[in-house]
Symmetry: C2
DNA sequence: TACTCGCACTAGCGCGCGCTAGTAGAGCGC
DNA sequence: GCGCTCTACTAGCGCGCGCTAGTGCGAGTA
């Protein structure tokens, strides 16, 4: 037997060996009524003996539906990994399979989505999509699509995200209550949710009368971005400018980068400076003192995403929906009272 | 048009609209000779108009081969994300598609692999598999399998890994040269490569005459493990025991956790203590001073894995092969001279 | 005996495509 | 005219399975 010559056994093989028709084998493997208990057991035993497994490709060709959800995600985005982890069980619960397709440099979102569709996924769940709204809309016309983490108003695409505004507001209120005034925000660039977070930060600063201190530092949702910001702030300090007393990072990864840069340089967290992240990915626990962050419930988001997709598949008339989940500030060790002293 | 009623156009639709036979459309989409340039363009234009895309499921049913590689990976393992990123381009270069299937808690390796096989993957690439050698061997008999990061001698499974021993030896020599003697190793538990690293650590300690200082702390390949170890070491210090002067972590994630725990507690790295990781995942750059680590070339490993799989598929008689890549110590900021003074 | 009913099982078409074995027609040489 | 070759295209089977419309048969009823 050559390695490449490993012939997959088919239903016909099982049927012949068991002395029944192929149709009956089909019935048995679909767990449909129409076969005696005795025959069921015999056929299953035979199938097991010759190593038969149903061929999904053929299966989903034969029945019109594939009952498969495609998930597009970005390698290296921690929070998306959390989401993927939540998607599997919910999909299984509803009787759907899951196919993953990653984007990375050199593999665009379009490519990743095409791969999913060509494998007959009935719906695609896009984790933090970065494509144009128009492209998203077009995709929504071609198939059932759900965007997670990014709002997509006015399109035929369902979306699941958290009320970014609320989350940021909670974080800002928390910091202000602790006496912070010089609070800067590291922007998430084109990252999912960034625009809303930036807006909410600005609004919160104004609301608290901190307009003069308002400062948005460009960045993105990576550790590098946090490190760079850290370097920038340290350089400013060395030139005599005051450090901010608190930083609202674009997400947890960014916050972690910032923390690494600052603590290495001897800045006390939260003594000299407080840091708040966003996501509550498992990174939040990396800091021994815990990262104060705005929790997005990845499990719940995954659940919604899967359910939106499935419900749209089963009732095509449904209008696009939007789930806006409540974020929740989780106070851990990286936020504390603002340091004393003059600005 | 209801959302779920989005009927995918098929070749028949294209053929009818273009006024040719379905077979000709097939020829054109497979880029085979047998159609005039003029017809080609017309058919492709028509196909584009009605939004036709080839159906992969049907395609791989019709031709015997699917030309698809399945990749099993673990969500959250950073280094595996690096590997996935390398697998895509190499597979594409060789004309293969890639299907991903993740393991996580609640989704076992067996489940993940079954999902891949049921979608007619011709071969599976297992990133850091944790299953029994016997199960791996069985899988190797059923299909073409490649294990990445874990050695699997005596099985019908190709494997790609680095010479863990060499890597550890380089790291240990580096530390000893810097004057370190009290070097502990955080074990990687059942993680890929752990056994070899542990063995090599022991051997290196003996070789350098440091047997009395030999110490392996149980752990695994997560940040949590590093944090716990950090806590443990700090607690020991508080009880008057000396800190080790250097730690060889099980991998980068573990090293990062350790660094977070130690630097938070005021331990100077590398002043008081040096830390060496393993993998050179992108985490290594998270530390502003850079993590000294043993580099595993993820791109090269991915390339080997894909090529092994493909070559076995195209020549089934090939015996299982093993690629052992040379690791390379990358010295960055977390390792420095051993601190002075008595133990 | 004749007639239904229900259970266990089978025949056979179709899913969308790849692929082999063709055919029709144009062009060419003699 | 005939035979040949070459290009452009088509007919039709098969991939492994789902599914509808059956068939056969024993038990129960009148």
């Amino acid at each position: 037997m050559s390695a490449s010559g490993k012939q997959r056994p088919t239903m016909v093989d099982v049927a012949e060996k068991a002395g029944v028709s192929r149709a009956l084998v089909s019935i048995i493997f679909r767990d449909q009524p129409g076969a005696s208990q005795e025959t069921r057991e015999r056929v299953l035993r035979v199938a097991d003996e010759i190593g038969y497994r149903p061929d999904n490709a053929a299966r989903l060709l034969a029945r019109g539906r594939s009952r498969t959800l495609g998930v597009m995600f970005t390698v290296h985005q921690t929070f998306q990994a959390d989401l993927v982890e939540g998607i599997y069980p919910e999909a299984e619960r509803l009787g759907y399979e899951v196919l993953l397709s990653a984007t990375s440099q050199g593999r665009s979102e379009v490519k990743a989505v095409e791969a999913l569709l060509s494998h007959r996924c009935e719906a695609v769940i896009l984790l933090g999509p970065d494509m144009e709204a128009a492209d998203l809309d077009a995709l929504g016309h071609r198939t059932v699509a759900v965007s997670v983490g990014r709002r997509v108003p006015q399109t035929r695409v369902d979306s699941v995200h958290t009320a970014e505004g609320k989350g940021v507001r909670q974080a800002m209120d928390h910091l202000v209550e602790l006496g912070h005034r010089r609070i800067v925000h590291i922007d998430g660039g084109r990252g999912p949710g960034s625009a809303e977070r930036r807006r909410a930060y600005r609004a919160a600063m104004r609301r608290h009368g901190l307009q003069p201190e308002l400062r948005v530092i460009p960045g993105d949702h990576t550790e590098e971005s946090g490190i760079e910001t850290g370097r920038l702030l340290l350089a400013e300090r060395d030139r005599g400018l005051p450090l901010p007393t608190a930083v609202l990072a674009g997400n947890d990864r960014c916050a972690m980068g910032l923390l690494m840069a600052l603590t290495r340089a001897g800045v006390e967290v939260p003594g000299d400076l407080s840091v708040v992240g966003y996501d509550d990915s498992h990174l939040s626990h990396l800091m021994p003192i815990g990262l104060t962050t705005v929790r997005q419930d990845s499990l719940l988001m995954a659940e919604y995403a899967v359910r939106f997709a499935v419900e749209r598949l089963e009732d095509g008339e449904l209008e696009p929906r939007e789930a806006v989940l409540d974020p929740k500030l989780v106070v851990r060790g990286t936020s504390g009272p603002a340091p004393e002293g003059p600005a």
